[in-house]
């Protein structure tokens, strides 16, 4: 990829701390902590809404002070075993570079992004392992979270210096856009930049993307050029987006529609998948379209919650699914909301009833809910069908509704 073809969000990714826009107090506090070798707190927890520069600041600081970042984020499994495997070696030794005197390396820096996302069985023991690493680490440990007020992070908050990030303000975004325009030789009207900044709602990344898309063909940018941006703020329903998407005449048209729509990406992906058999009658076209949806799904997984620079590949793959054969489009009734979402909604009461039953079995038999569901429920069901007043009912403290549910349930 040539330099001038780079996305501006990549090209102007902060290389130095002063390049990170806004949050001056947070930057100052963080840098002071990082420079101080005898930290009073062993780790730092950066918290605040997404897209305000937490990760950018860590990367810029590491670049400026010569740290090598060892990073774990939400896309990695962060169980006790996984955390110890990655973080322990990184934090137990001081890099040999430090003693050579020939390089500017300051050693390793452990960065655990999105720690509030550590959850479920996959990440079991993760918080305790992080806590231990923070206490024993010989290198700086930096944690980042969007919501620091969740219960499981309480022990981590006690050992961390808390640094709060705020949403980036409109004047600061305008200032950044002015700087980019100057460096890219784009002559932009102040009102146009103002509109882009207001439209971004504090998200620097989307503001830069909008600026690039609007000034790509023409090196002058007027307020008139930004009229298309208003559509991002409109509440376009899923049905309208699906209609526009499936009737698109080209990949570019579908892709552009996606980039200006505010529907949830995951729900939209599921809806496209549900509606493809109604859109393409030809099995070959349908298979080709599903291939593209599958590619889009792969990119969505890679994007996770932070690699938003990959979003254009997600749009592109999904747009290709809409434009396998544009000529064959005939209006049809859309399936919306997604079948998967609706199935979860319809079965919610049944799932919670089964969950309550499994909890009761688990308490009496000292097993997990999953084991109760797999190994106990089928047999208890058979017993109850044969003997409706079985002593098991009193033993497990089942309610009459739960007994009725167990007898009538067809599948697990």
């Amino acid at each position: 990829m040539q330099r001038n073809e780079l996305l501006w969000v990549e090209k102007y990714r902060p290389k130095k701390i002063q390049d990170v826009v806004g949050n001056e107090e947070a930057k100052e506090l963080f840098v002071e902590w990082l420079k101080n070798k005898r930290h009073t707190k062993k780790a730092v927890l950066l918290y605040g809404p997404p897209g305000v520069g937490k990760t950018a600041l860590v990367n810029a600081a590491a670049n400026e002070f010569g740290f090598t970042i060892i990073e774990m984020n939400a896309s990695d499994t962060r169980s006790e075993k996984a955390v110890n495997a990655v973080a322990k070696p990184a934090t137990s030794y001081v890099a040999l570079d430090n003693f050579s005197g020939s390089t500017k390396s300051s050693g390793n820096l452990l960065f655990l992004d999105e720690v509030d996302g550590i959850a479920g069985n996959e990440d079991r023991g993760g918080v305790a392992a992080i806590l231990k690493i923070v206490e024993e680490s010989l290198v700086p440990v930096i944690l980042a979270a969007n919501d620091p007020n969740i219960d499981k992070l309480r022990p981590l908050k006690k050992v961390c210096l808390l640094v709060r990030f705020q949403q980036v303000r409109i004047p600061l975004i305008i200032a950044l856009l002015q700087k980019i325009c100057l460096l890219e030789h784009v002559h932009a009207e102040f009102e146009a930049l103002e509109r882009i900044a207001q439209n971004s709602r504090g998200d620097v990344r989307s503001a830069i993307n909008d600026l690039q898309s609007l000034s790509e063909t023409n090196r002058t940018l007027t307020l008139q050029d930004t009229v298309v941006l208003t559509s991002r703020n409109k509440d376009v329903s899923m049905d309208e987006t699906l209609r526009g998407f499936f009737s698109a005449k080209s990949v570019a048209e579908a892709s552009s529609l996606l980039s200006y729509s505010s529907v949830d990406y995951d729900d939209f992906l599921l809806s496209v998948s549900d509606n493809l058999p109604r859109r393409y009658m030809d099995p070959g076209e349908l298979a080709a379209a599903y291939d593209f949806v599958s590619q889009a799904d792969v990119f969505r997984g890679r994007i996770g919650t932070e690699n938003w620079h990959l979003l254009k590949y997600f749009y592109n793959a999904l747009a290709k699914a809409a434009a396998v054969n544009p000529q064959s489009y005939k209006p049809f009734e859309f399936i919306s909301p997604p079948i998967r979402v609706m199935t979860l909604f319809w079965t919610k009461s049944r799932r919670s009833m089964l969950d309550a039953i499994c909890s009761k079995i688990g308490v009496q038999c000292h097993v997990s809910k999953e084991t109760a569901k797999e190994d106990f429920v089928p047999y208890i069901k058979e017993i109850l069908i044969k003997q409706k007043k079985s002593p098991l009912i009193a033993y497990f403290k089942f309610t009459p509704e739960e007994v009725d549910f167990l007898i009538k349930m067809s599948r697990f």
Partner: protein, 113 residues
Amino acid sequence: MVIVLNKNAFKLPRVDREKFISLMRLGLDYNRDQGVFSIKSYNNIEKAMEAISSILGGSEVVFLQSCIRCGKDFPCTNCNYIELCNTKNLPFSCVCPQCLRDRKQFEEYLEKF
């Protein structure tokens, strides 16, 4: 009434011991020699502002912003985007309306880097 304060040094009426301790816990600092408060930590700033406001008889409290370009202090009330801003008064650095419009000053600012 809106009271504009400077984050680095502002005076408050004398408060009792408990209120003073709670202000310190909310992130304020007190300079005994000069008898002025300042903001030390920004993590509980909203609660700190509420506490200061109640000490000042319920008046709205506004902190001065420092312009990252010219370094001058200015209040948020001068900003054109105050209605759209989710972080009014906080943090304490922004770009003042004059610098935002003044292209010459902006180019001078860029030359520093």
